[in-house]
Symmetry: C2
Subunit: 297 residues, 2 copies
Amino acid sequence: MAKIIECIPNVSEGRRTEVVEALVNVVRTVPGVTLLDYSSDASHNRSVITMVGDPDGIEDAAFKLAMAARDNIDLTQHEGEHPRMGAIDVIPFVPIKDVTVAECVELSKKLGERIANELGIPVFLYEDSATAPHRKNLAEIRKGQFEGMAEKVNDEKWHPDFGGNRIHPTAGVVAVGARPPLVAYNINLSTSDIKVADKIAKIIRERSGGLKYVKALGVMLEDRNIAQVSINMCNFSKTPLYRVFELVRVEAARYGVHIIGSEIIGLAPMAALIDSAEYYLQLEGFSKNQVLENRLM
Amino acid sequence: MAKIIECIPNVSEGRRTEVVEALVNVVRTVPGVTLLDYSSDASHNRSVITMVGDPDGIEDAAFKLAMAARDNIDLTQHEGEHPRMGAIDVIPFVPIKDVTVAECVELSKKLGERIANELGIPVFLYEDSATAPHRKNLAEIRKGQFEGMAEKVNDEKWHPDFGGNRIHPTAGVVAVGARPPLVAYNINLSTSDIKVADKIAKIIRERSGGLKYVKALGVMLEDRNIAQVSINMCNFSKTPLYRVFELVRVEAARYGVHIIGSEIIGLAPMAALIDSAEYYLQLEGFSKNQVLENRLM
């Protein structure tokens, strides 16, 4: 059984197609790694690359991508809506198969050290790799962005984990870390009143006292004239989809509103769905080993 | 993306461990084929072997297994509770990934011809490979068993598809065919009255006017003192698990009985569970391509 890790680097280039293609081609050439997806957003001026592979291959691909981003992207010339602090801005590692979070943490530290030493880019370890609680959240690390980073890293609280206190002049700094798979999951309501979606989002999300590992906000789907609870499931094995779905259903009922559908955006590991099937079918003693595909990979 | 076919040959030996091991070792040595499971039943005097592989590998493994079964099993000396007509009794092919039922039908015909020509064992094509409606059902083909087969094949209705009308003196005949994946699925009821399980089984199964592709009967779980609806889901993509679960729930309610749990026996393709998650989570526009693992294999 092969170990599989997913890596979803975000690079600060979403406009120059030839640069994005060059970066993606770096990934394509690494043995043991499969490019699953990439997408660029011009207004964000940012691209997200999704790749999977064995631990060695995925480390190699991430390192080569970081080098190519450093050589092709100049943050002193960069503008875009999305906050950013590096040419390669963030490199998350996600355990997919026969790999623990701890192994992904190790990998992130190994890669972080290489990026600092060999590419001259200081590295912050974040999420499950963070070396202090205040450094877990990427948004906190990135506050001040590239323009404020040269100064910020002098603050003892924000010394990089690798590479010292001098940011790379054009490539800035990068966050590297391990995190559980994230599922983007939206629930559509039978109402056009966004206040209902807002209220439900507040009830279900961790930040305002709801379910752990859940981020949520109310949004309006203008084309369908319906309100939606837009959700990031940050650890679906600890807080599964069905629990969020059922809690939204229950809370919506108070307003005479029901769920008209839900959607998964992008990719989701099969376990995110199988957990929910297990719940609703009341499966007894079911093991993931009974899933035929788990025996094949 | 690799094509994957599952093959679940049943051989008429469940007592002589050394023979079963010899047969299983044949499968183990074929490149491109993975042995997933094998289990022997002494009272049935029969073993079930589960293997997966690419089309060429799986054909090769099935052929070599048929040869080894012919050379090691003598049906004139065989007794056991399970009906049987051949040393290798039945060879079903099941499409798992990037393979159609039609391709499995082709494979079954190719293998059938080889078994007849090279091993001297006449072959019946059954299930989706059957050449006439009365030859689809394995139980109908096998009626009369090994002992009655020499005579039965002279009946025009029961001429073998390959190999002529003379059965192999010790290996009998074999059924080869393509069929959809089968899921063994049981639903446990909050009653110790088997008549309730019997009545529900009658309502849900195809044979007595219920859901197509569903076989069911009521059984008693003596150790737990509960009644169970024991089900074979013969085509879960056309009649999915959730539909059977919900119909059992609805019918049980008439007796004041509810479902206390369900169970999947053995292996099930992930799609069998993901279909049910899609239903209960009311997923809109979901594609199997969004399942990460489907991109990896």
